[in-house]
């Protein structure tokens, strides 16, 4: 039985018994090869659910829109970490959730009207192939996780450059930003009702077209996700000008692991690094 069929069977059961109001999953996109989110409210809609290596979207974001109603959701391991993040931050309620976890083989690169064999960058270094939280598991979880020695190879390469080189690199990257905020809209961790970038007084990020304003946006967006980013890498995927946002996110992830021995979304209980402190800790980084 393929993954999609297992998901459809479970989803049908949940909808027919009215355990949940809606099942959030994937269906085939109109281009015939990709996937798009599906909100199934009726048993007949459930038949459209699929799962394969094109199902890239992190659907956990949609849970923020259906807080009051019981909802079932199909999650990959990275998306399941987003659920833990939202639970930890009291944004969603566990008893209103039914989580269909998928043991994920990795998602391939996406493009309109075509399929790729190659895995997405985040999937190539993924060390979490089984969801960290689920009610019903689909697929065969691997016996062990791959041991990827150099998960931060690109970050380390960037760190090895001089300050001027890094400055030049990021200036070029940020200068292309059109501030469409797609990175924010797609991110399950970005749910502020009023984002700092939309504040008019004080106007933190000016509305003029200027690379230095883009820089404020991009650095602070990344920093707001420090210790919270669950590495689904959706922000980078949706960026229309291909800014390597994962280089920023994973730098912070790396530092947070070193400084606070913390990884976001692994469980829903451990307090986030910036929500707690230890009196005795020392930070040579500040010196």
């Amino acid at each position: 039985m393929d993954l999609g069929e297992q998901i459809r069977n479970k989803a049908k059961e949940l909808i027919e018994r009215e355990t949940v109001d809606c099942v959030i999953g994937y269906e085939r996109a109109t281009d015939g090869v990709g996937a798009r989110p599906l909100f199934a409210y009726k048993p007949e809609e459930v038949d459209r659910l699929i799962f394969d290596q094109t199902c890239t979207h992190n659907l956990a974001k949609y849970l923020l829109n259906s807080k009051d109603k019981a909802t079932a959701i199909v999650v990959k391991p990275c998306d399941s970490r987003a659920i833990n993040l939202l639970l930890n931050e009291s944004q969603i309620q566990r008893d209103k959730l039914f989580i269909i976890g998928v043991a994920c083989p990795g998602i391939t690169k996406t493009g309109l009207n075509n399929t790729h064999e190659e895995l997405q960058a985040a999937c190539q270094i993924c060390q979490q192939h089984t969801p960290v939280i689920y009610d019903f598991l689909v697929g065969e979880p691997p016996a062990s996780e791959p041991d990827i020695a150099e998960a931060y190879a690109d970050v380390a390469a960037m760190e090895g450059q001089s300050a001027e080189e890094r400055r030049a690199f990021w200036e070029e990257q940020f200068s292309r930003c059109i501030r469409c905020y797609a990175c924010r809209q797609v991110c399950p961790g970005c749910y502020c009702t009023e984002c700092f970038v939309e504040r008019l007084d004080p106007l933190w990020v000016g509305i003029r077209i200027a690379p230095e304003e883009n820089e404020v946006w991009n650095t602070i967006r990344a920093f707001h996700l420090a210790g919270r980013c669950i590495a689904c890498n959706e922000c980078e995927r949706v960026c229309p000008v291909n800014i390597p946002l994962s280089l920023l996110n994973r730098k912070l992830e790396k530092e947070v692991r070193q400084l606070f021995n913390f990884q976001a979304g692994i469980d829903a209980e451990t307090p986030a690094p910036f929500a707690t402190y230890k009196k005795e800790e020392v930070f040579p980084e500040l010196g």
């Binding site: 300050a163 990021w170 690379p211 820089e215 404020v216 920093f223 420090a226 912070l252 800790e281």
Partner: protein
């Protein structure tokens, strides 16, 4: 005629310790470089990384954050939270090309006027050595 480079420092000082410490430096007539622009904040825990990034964006050559010594926070724990955030911010700034020497965090108590003067003096010296921040970003229109 070329204008001599004067580093611009934005200083965020906690109201209860460091701001009072800077006050002591003043009333004790201790000289220190006038390169720092002091902004008084209620607590070092108030320091949003956005304030730091924004200062650099608006042309600061260095940013100094000063608060109560850990354990002495007026609000008991503000500087403990600040410490964690800033310890992450410093390597991150370096990563996006702002040398870590341009960003300092110091703990200065209300009685440490002398220390305050030393902190500002040494920071200013260091920024002289580093030179002006390369603002190669093309200026925006409007």
């Amino acid at each position: 005629m070329a204008i001599e480079y004067q580093p611009k420092i934005v200083g965020f000082l906690c109201n209860w310790c460091s701001y009072a410490g800077a006050d002591v430096a003043g009333t004790s007539r201790i000289c220190y470089p006038p390169n720092i622009r002091i902004i008084r904040v209620p607590c070092s825990g108030r320091i949003d990384p956005l304030l730091v990034v924004k200062s650099f964006q608006q042309g600061a050559d260095g940013v100094l954050i000063a608060g109560c010594h850990p354990g002495d926070c007026h609000y008991t724990e503000g500087n403990y939270y600040a410490r964690r955030r800033l310890a992450l911010l410093r390597p991150f700034l370096e990563y996006i090309g702002i040398e870590k020497e341009r960003f300092r965090v110091e703990w200065v108590s209300a009685s440490e006027g002398k220390k305050w003067a030393q902190v500002v003096s040494s920071f200013t010296d260091e920024l002289y050595k580093l030179g002006p921040r390369e603002m190669t970003l093309a200026k925006g229109t409007g």
